[in-house]
């Protein structure tokens, strides 16, 4: 039993930061809050930490109501996007600071800090001050501070966002291992869908102060229950377009249509919205079970081994992600294949069509 939010809301002045939210995070594995900037990730974390009081509702931790209990009296550690360390303490003292506050003996401090700094590869830098460290090392120090405390609740608020690519990958691999055996409930906020997928665990997608979906990360990715959840959990952004169901065909336009898959056979005729992840729209000739689109290139960018290309198809922009490096010039006409068997159908209200 980890942390539970029961009908929690947060209002500041006339503005609602968090609409009524029920959420229960488990002890094992990572709990991920996925959402764009200003979606309410940080506010939720502050509510969980006890840095802020909910406007209504209750916060429960390990089976106890902790709603009014201030953060100092809880066992909480937090790591931020900015590298937060005490500026005039060296690395050792920084890591030791939470232990000093709670009055741990200096012998035990030495032993615990030593163990953690070994784990985080900080041992050679213990005498340095934070501003003599690289960004990665500064964040490791902040992580060490969170770890050494043995807090029951660890909140990681986009801890990798300010690191460069290599360091981010490295730390992302280490993070789940670091917290694996601590017995802590770990909540991790990120704005990057890929990061959520790599960390696994469970994900809650957040949009404008509401949790739109919560469950095992891969399940949410595979079966978003609303258009909004799908949009939050897609990078590059998911393509959406209105389609019309007429009898046994879906029509994107008059000419572009495909037969309704068996699982949607009972669906009533009318307007729907399809969601197509960019990697289900690829460059190249369509095979039999795919739908062919003709488009002109608007933007072409290459990200590693993937080519991300924005196309204009009859006045509508689509983003495709194809494997391999494809060189296109703006204005080229290209044939695309749309994998309709992998796309999502949503009602116009945004709900996923049960299929």
């Amino acid at each position: 039993m980890g942390i539970e939010l029961k009908k929690v809301t947060k209002q500041v002045g006339a503005e609602t930061y968090i609409y009524e939210t029920d959420l229960s995070f488990e002890k094992d594995g990572f709990n991920i809050l996925l959402g764009t900037t200003l979606s309410g990730k940080t506010t939720l974390m502050r509510l969980m930490a006890g840095l802020e009081r909910p406007s209504s509702g209750e916060v429960w931790f390990e089976g106890q109501d902790v709603t009014g209990i201030p953060v100092q009296k809880r066992s909480v550690a937090m790591v931020y996007q900015q590298f937060i360390n005490y500026p005039n303490f060296n690395v050792f003292e920084n890591i030791a600071s939470p232990l000093r506050v709670s009055g741990v003996s200096s012998q035990e401090i030495k032993q615990r800090v030593g163990k953690i700094s070994d784990l985080l590869k900080l041992t050679p830098f213990l005498d340095r001050s934070p501003d003599e460290l690289s960004g990665g090392q500064q964040q490791r120090t902040a992580l060490a501070r969170a770890l050494v405390k043995n807090a029951a609740l660890v909140l990681l608020d986009e801890p990798l966002a300010n690191l460069d690519y290599k360091l981010r990958e490295e730390l992302r691999d280490e993070l789940p291992k670091l917290f694996q055996d601590t017995g802590a409930t770990v909540v991790y906020a990120t704005s990057e869908p890929l990061e959520a997928l790599m960390l696994g665990g469970r994900t809650a997608t957040l949009h404008e102060g509401r949790v739109t979906q919560y469950g095992p990360t891969s399940q949410i990715y595979r079966a978003p229950n609303t258009l909004v959840s799908a949009q939050v959990f897609s990078d590059p952004p998911i393509n959406t377009a209105p389609v019309e169901k007429k009898n046994d065909t879906f029509h994107l336009t008059d000419l572009i249509n495909w037969s309704v898959p068996v699982e949607y056979a009972n669906l009533s005729d009318g307007q729907y919205v399809i969601g197509v992840r960019p990697h289900h729209l690829t460059v190249g000739t369509a095979t039999e079970d795919m739908v062919r689109l003709n488009g002109t290139v608007q933007i072409a960018e290459i990200s590693g081994s993937e080519s991300i290309i924005h196309f204009n198809v009859e006045g509508h922009t689509w983003v495709s992600e194809s494997h391999g490096v494809h060189q296109f010039k703006v204005g080229d006409s290209v044939e695309l294949s749309l994998d309709v068997s992998r796309c999502f159908y949503f009602h116009q209200s945004g709900e996923l069509v049960a299929g």
Partner: protein
């Protein structure tokens, strides 16, 4: 790397050289010129070597104004720096009151120095000034034109009123630059207000405070206009600070040699103290 000499490069340097020559080097050299010679009318000069420097350094009068100056600057720093930090800490961080506070703080800085002196002169007059009447009304015998203690406290109070704002604004800027996450982290660690100040705010304000102390040191060490208007250096010589004394020697007595020697000594003291202070404060800031 091979460097090819390029005589044209001098063309880029010349404007700066000319500017610096006219605004610093030539005036400074004029002073050096006076300081080593006896000057008579009709541009007649006699070489005197180090005589004026020795005379100034040995003179009782210089020692007294120097000590007065040290005492004044010391008091200014001891009062204005902590007071400035305290006010900055008490100011709101956000909301409509921020701009109100900032404007109120900036006001004294906008007033010309001689006006400040004149204002305080009238404000503190024991017979018609608001402050003077009030203090006397409280039963304290106060007259800054006649009593050294009153003159000193008025001068110090005036400078505190005029310049604490500068320290406040600099400290406030330093405080505003601290990300909110630091305070949260401290809260989670269970740090109290004093610990937050000691371990987060003060270290984070170190740079701006260095600037504040340096500026307040230099300004108060060279103070002239305000005490000149307020007390004219009196009563007697009790508020005759270095620059007031210097002007008396140079323009009152027209002793150009000793005045020039004193200017150079004065200049070197300011330079030396600033350099020592800056080096000490910035030690360990390398990397």
């Amino acid at each position: 790397m091979n460097k090819t000499p390029n005589p044209k490069a001098w063309l880029f340097v010349i404007p700066v050289v000319v500017l610096v020559a006219f605004n610093a080097l030539i005036p400074l050299m004029t002073v050096v010129n006076y300081s080593v010679q006896e000057t008579f009318g009709d541009n007649v000069f006699f070489w005197e070597g180090m005589k004026w420097f020795e005379e100034v350094l040995r003179s009782e009068r210089f020692h007294e104004s120097f000590l007065r100056q040290i005492a004044f600057t010391g008091m200014i720093l001891v009062i204005e720096i902590p007071l400035g930090i305290a006010i900055a800490l008490a100011m709101p961080r956000k909301g409509p009151w921020v701009s109100v506070c900032l404007v109120l703080m900036a006001l004294p800085l906008l007033i010309p120095w001689n006006v400040v002196g004149a204002m305080w002169n009238i404000f503190a007059l024991p017979d018609i000034g608001l402050l003077g009447r009030m203090i006397n009304g409280l039963g304290i015998d106060y007259n800054f034109t006649q009593q050294p203690v009153s003159a000193w406290s008025t001068t110090v109070l005036m400078d505190v009123w005029h310049w604490t704002s500068l320290v406040v604004l600099l400290s406030y800027a330093g405080l505003s630059a601290i990300p909110d996450a630091y305070y949260q982290a401290a809260k989670i660690d269970g740090a109290n207000a004093w610990a937050v100040f000691r371990f987060i705010q003060l270290p984070k304000m170190k740079r701006v405070l260095t600037i504040a102390i340096l500026l307040r040191f230099m300004d108060s060490f060279m103070i002239y206009t305000e005490p000149f208007v307020l007390t004219g250096g009196g009563p007697g010589n009790t508020t005759t600070f270095l620059s007031i004394d210097l002007v008396k020697i140079a323009l009152g007595q027209f002793d150009l040699g000793p005045a020039a020697a004193m200017s150079l000594i004065y200049f070197l003291i300011v330079l030396l103290v600033s350099w020592i202070f800056y080096t000490l404060m910035m030690r360990g800031e390398e990397n």
